[in-house]
C-alpha cells in the first residue's frame, strides 16, 4: 500500500505536465482567434514568471526589474529579425559596430535574445551580490525605471518613442497552419522547454544550493555552497528566460516601444509570481493566467460608479492580490499542492515554506 502511495506521489508531477501538454495541444480546436491570442500571451508571461520564480522563489532574491529584462529580449528580437537593411528601411541608423545581420526568421531570434538577456542578467547579478533584500529590490527597480528612458535615448537604433514596427508574424517554412496557431504553438513549445529546463535546474544540486542560500546564507556557506556563484547564476538564468519571453512578445505583437515596458510591468510580474506561488514552477502558469486575464476582465467599463471605473483594472487587481494573500499565503500553486497533501494525509497546511518571502 505504501509503495503504491509513494509511486503515485512521484507520478503526479509528470502526469500533470502531460495533462497540461495535451490540454495545450487540443486547445486551438475549441477557441476563437482572440482566446488563442490570450493563451499565447499566457505562455509568454509564464516563461517570464518561471524566470522570476527561479530568482525570487528559489534563490530568494527579489527583482523589481524583470519588465526591463523582457524589454531587452524584445528589442533584441526586433533588431535581429529586421536586421540592418530592415532598420534602415525604417529610417533608423544603427552604428556600424552592432552585429545586426541582414534579418532572420523571428523564431531564431528567441534563443539569441535569451542569450543576450542572460548575459545582461549576469552583469546585473554581479553588483546584486553586494545587495540583499530591499536594497536589491530598489536596485532592480532602478533598472526598470531607466529602461524606457535609455531606449528613447538611443533613438537611432531603437526608433525612440515611436518604437519599431516588425513585419507582421507569418507561419514559417511554408507550413500549412494558420499564423495564429503557429504563434500559439511556438509560445507553448518554448514554455514547455523553459519549464523542463527550470525543473531540471531546480530539482538537482543547483536547486538545492539556491534553496539553501534562500533559507539561510550562512548555513549554506558552511555547507560548502558558494553564494556568489549561485546567486549570479540565478540572475543569469532568470534574465535569459525573461529575454525569451520578450522575444516571443515582440514576435507576437509585431511592435516594440519603450512605453510597452513601463515600470508597472515589472511590479505586476512580481505580484503575479507571488499570487501564482513562489518556489513552484506550476505557480508561474497560474500567475500568467492572472496576468493576462484579470486586467481584461476588470475592463468592462463602466463598473460601479463612474469615477471609480477610471482606475478599476488596477484596483481590482490589487484587491485580488490582497484577498489571495490573506486566504492563500503560499499562492495558488501551494494551495493545490496542499490539497494533494491533504488528500493523502488528511492535514491541510495553509502556509508554504516560501510564503514569508512574499
Amino acid at each position: 500500500m505504501n509503495v503504491v502511495r509513494r509511486n503515485l506521489g512521484r507520478a503526479i508531477g509528470p502526469a500533470l505536465f502531460l495533462a497540461a501538454a495535451v490540454l495545450v495541444i487540443l486547445m486551438p480546436r475549441f477557441m476563437g482567434e482572440f482566446r488563442l491570442l490570450q493563451f499565447t500571451l499566457v505562455a509568454i508571461y509564464a516563461i517570464a514568471l518561471i524566470g522570476l520564480n527561479i530568482l525570487t522563489g528559489y534563490s530568494g532574491q527579489i527583482s523589481l526589474g524583470h519588465g526591463a529584462f523582457v524589454g531587452v529580449g524584445a528589442y533584441t528580437a526586433a533588431l535581429l529579425s529586421l536586421g540592418r537593411p530592415g532598420l534602415e528601411a525604417l529610417q533608423l541608423d544603427p552604428p556600424s559596430w552592432m552585429p545586426l545581420g541582414d534579418g532572420m526568421r523571428p523564431i531564431f531570434t528567441i534563443p539569441i535574445a535569451a542569450l543576450v538577456t542572460g548575459l545582461f542578467g549576469l552583469l546585473i547579478g554581479v553588483p546584486a551580490l553586494r545587495l540583499g533584500g530591499i536594497s536589491l529590490a530598489l536596485a532592480t527597480l532602478a533598472i526598470a525605471v531607466s529602461f524606457p528612458i535609455v531606449m528613447k535615448r538611443f533613438a537611432e537604433v531603437t526608433g525612440g518613442g515611436g518604437g519599431i514596427n516588425l513585419n507582421l508574424p507569418e507561419t514559417p517554412f511554408g507550413w500549412d497552419i494558420s499564423t495564429r496557431h503557429w504563434l500559439f504553438y511556438e509560445a507553448w513549445v518554448t514554455a514547455g522547454i523553459v519549464f523542463l529546463a527550470g525543473w531540471l535546474l531546480t530539482r538537482g544540486r543547483i536547486g538545492r544550493a539556491w534553496r539553501a542560500i534562500r533559507d539561510g546564507e550562512v548555513a549554506a556557506v558552511s555547507s560548502g555552497v558558494n553564494p556568489a556563484l549561485y546567486k549570479t547564476f540565478a540572475f543569469g538564468v532568470s534574465a535569459a528566460f525573461a529575454g525569451a519571453a520578450g522575444a516571443l512578445l515582440a514576435i507576437e505583437t509585431a511592435y516594440v516601444n519603450p512605453d510597452t515596458f513601463p515600470v508597472g510591468i515589472s511590479i505586476l510580474l512580481l505580484a503575479s509570481a507571488v499570487i501564482g506561488g513562489l518556489g513552484s514552477l506550476a505557480g508561474a502558469i497560474f500567475g500568467a493566467l492572472l496576468y493576462v486575464f484579470l486586467p481584461i476582465y476588470a475592463q468592462k467599463p463602466p463598473i460601479f460608479s463612474f469615477e471609480f471605473a477610471d482606475q478599476a483594472p488596477g484596483v481590482v487587481f490589487g484587491v485580488f492580490l490582497i484577498v489571495i494573500m490573506l486566504l492563500l499565503p503560499g499562492g495558488i500553486a501551494h494551495f493545490f499542492r496542499a490539497l494533494v497533501v491533504a488528500a493523502r494525509t488528511g492535514r491541510f497546511r495553509r502556509r508554504s515554506r516560501t510564503s514569508e518571502l512574499a
Binding site: 495541444i25 515611436g162 512605453d259 481584461i296
Partner: protein
C-alpha cells in the same frame, strides 16, 4: 513503474491521433458578402483609450462619443425617418489600454477578432495608434478618426490606406505658434519644454519650420519622459537660459505640472504658449491652482472646436445641443464642462457623417473611400472650419484660430488660419 510507462504510452498514442486534427485551420468561415460588424440593425465599432494611468485625463472622450451615439440611436433621422444610421444602431465598445502600446495591441486584437468590429474609431495616442496601424492594414480593418494629431495619418495614407486622422496635425500647429511669435513678439527668447516622443517632436519640428531663419530665437529646448517624477531640473535650466517665452509641447497632466514647477523655480516667463491638446479648461484650472490665476492668464494656444465653457457660446445652438445630449445620454454625475466630453461628441458627429457617406450598404472599403471625400461643417467646430479631405489631402481638420486664456476660458484672438 510499468503502469506509469503504460499510461505514458497511452497518452502518447492519444496525442498522435489528436494532433492532426488539432492543427487544422479554424479561421471563421463567413458568408462571402457579409461585412464584419454590420447587420441589418446594428453597426459594431470600438476603440482603445487610456481610462486609467498617466493619460487618464482623456477618459471622458469615449464617454462623450458614447453619449452622442446613444443620441443618434434614439433620434429619428429627418431625411430617412429611421433611428440610428439607416436603421442601424451603433454599438460602441471601448477598452482601457492605460496608454501602454502593448495593451493596445492586445485589446485591438480583441476588438477585431473577438468583438468583430466593423472599424475602430477614435483610438487615442500616437504610440498606441502606431502600434496597431500595421494590424489594421493587414486585416483590412478601417482605423478612422484617430485621436492624435501626429502628421503620420495625413501624410502616409498611401502606405497605410486603412488609417485616417481627424484633428489638426501637430506640425502644422507648431508652425502657427511660430507665426504668432514672429508677428507679436519677434524679439522673444524661446524656451521649449516638450515630451520626448513623436508627439512632442512633431510639434517642435513645426515650430522650427515656422521660425525658419529666425530659428535662433529658441535659446533652449529640453524634454521630459512620461515616467519623470519631477521637472524641476529642466525648468530651472530653461529659466537660466534666459528664455522669456515658455513653449509647452506637453500632454495634459504634465502641462499643469510643468506650469506649477516653473512658478516654483521662480521663473516668470512673459508669455506661455500651450499646445492645443493640453489647452483645456481642466488643465488650466490645475495649472492655476498650482501657480496662481495671474500666472496662467494670457497664455496662448490654438483651437479648432468651440470652447464649450466660454460665456460667448452660452446661447450657441451646438453648445446647447451638446448640453442636452450629455444631460440625457451621458453618464450620471459628470462635469459636463469637461472639454474632453465635448471633443468626444464632436468626433462622434463626424463618424456618423462618415457612415452616411459610406452609404446604405456600407463596407469597410466604402468607409475608407468616404474618409477621402469628407466635406461638411461640424457644428461643434469653430465657425468657418470645414471638415474637408480629398484624394490628395487627408487632413480632415486643418483650420483653427489662435486663442488666449483669461480667468477660466479661452477667447479667439485671430482670424481663421489654414495649417496645411
Amino acid at each position: 513503474m510499468k503502469k506509469l510507462l503504460l499510461a505514458l504510452l497511452g497518452v502518447g498514442a492519444a496525442l498522435t491521433v489528436a494532433l492532426p486534427g488539432a492543427f487544422a485551420r479554424t479561421e471563421a468561415t463567413q458568408a462571402p458578402d457579409a461585412v464584419p460588424g454590420i447587420t441589418k440593425n446594428s453597426i459594431v465599432i470600438g476603440g482603445t483609450f487610456p481610462l486609467s494611468g498617466i493619460a487618464s485625463l482623456y477618459a471622458p472622450i469615449p464617454r462623450g462619443m458614447e453619449a452622442y451615439f446613444n443620441y443618434v440611436n434614439a433620434r429619428r433621422d429627418k431625411k430617412t425617418g429611421q433611428r440610428g444610421i439607416y436603421g442601424r444602431k451603433i454599438v460602441w465598445k471601448y477598452y482601457d489600454d492605460g496608454y501602454n502600446p502593448g495593451q493596445t495591441v492586445q485589446l485591438t486584437n480583441k476588438l477585431i477578432l473577438d468583438d468583430k468590429v466593423f472599424a475602430t474609431v477614435g483610438s487615442l495616442g500616437t504610440e498606441p495608434v502606431l502600434a496597431v496601424r500595421p494590424l489594421h492594414k493587414k486585416l483590412k480593418v478601417p482605423q478612422v478618426l484617430v485621436s492624435t494629431g501626429a502628421s503620420y495619418w495625413g501624410l502616409q495614407y498611401k502606405e497605410y490606406p486603412w488609417t485616417s486622422g481627424w484633428q489638426t496635425d501637430y506640425v502644422a500647429e507648431g508652425r502657427v505658434y511660430a507665426r504668432w511669435i514672429l508677428q507679436n513678439a519677434a524679439s522673444s527668447k524661446i524656451g521649449v519644454f516638450f515630451q520626448n516622443d513623436d508627439y512632442g517632436k512633431d510639434y517642435l519640428r513645426g515650430l522650427k519650420q515656422g521660425l525658419g531663419s529666425r530659428r535662433s530665437l529658441i535659446v533652449s529646448e529640453l524634454s521630459y519622459e512620461l515616467s519623470d517624477s519631477s521637472y524641476a531640473s529642466q525648468l530651472s535650466r530653461l529659466r537660466q537660459s534666459g528664455a522669456d517665452t515658455l513653449v509647452l509641447f506637453t500632454t495634459p497632466t504634465p502641462t499643469a505640472r510643468a506650469i506649477g514647477t516653473a512658478k516654483a523655480v521662480g521663473w516668470n516667463p512673459k508669455q506661455i504658449v500651450i499646445n492645443s491638446v493640453s489647452a483645456t479648461d481642466q488643465v488650466m484650472a490645475g495649472a492655476a491652482r498650482a501657480a496662481g490665476q495671474a500666472y496662467v492668464n494670457g497664455a496662448i494656444s490654438t483651437g479648432y472646436l468651440k470652447n464649450n465653457t466660454n460665456p460667448k457660446y452660452r446661447t450657441d445652438g451646438a453648445i446647447k445641443a451638446y448640453r442636452r445630449i450629455m444631460g440625457k445620454y451621458g453618464p450620471d454625475g459628470i462635469n459636463i464642462n469637461n472639454t474632453f466630453y465635448y471633443y468626444g461628441v464632436a468626433k462622434a458627429y463626424d463618424f456618423v457623417k462618415l457612415m452616411y457617406l459610406a452609404g446604405k450598404n456600407p463596407t469597410r472599403a466604402k468607409l475608407m473611400a468616404a474618409t477621402a471625400k469628407m466635406n461638411w461643417v461640424n457644428p461643434y467646430a469653430l465657425k468657418g472650419v470645414r471638415i474637408k479631405t480629398s484624394r490628395t489631402d487627408r487632413f480632415p481638420i486643418d483650420q483653427g484660430k489662435v486663442v488666449r486664456y483669461n480667468d477660466g476660458s479661452w477667447t479667439e484672438i485671430s482670424a481663421l488660419y489654414k495649417g496645411r
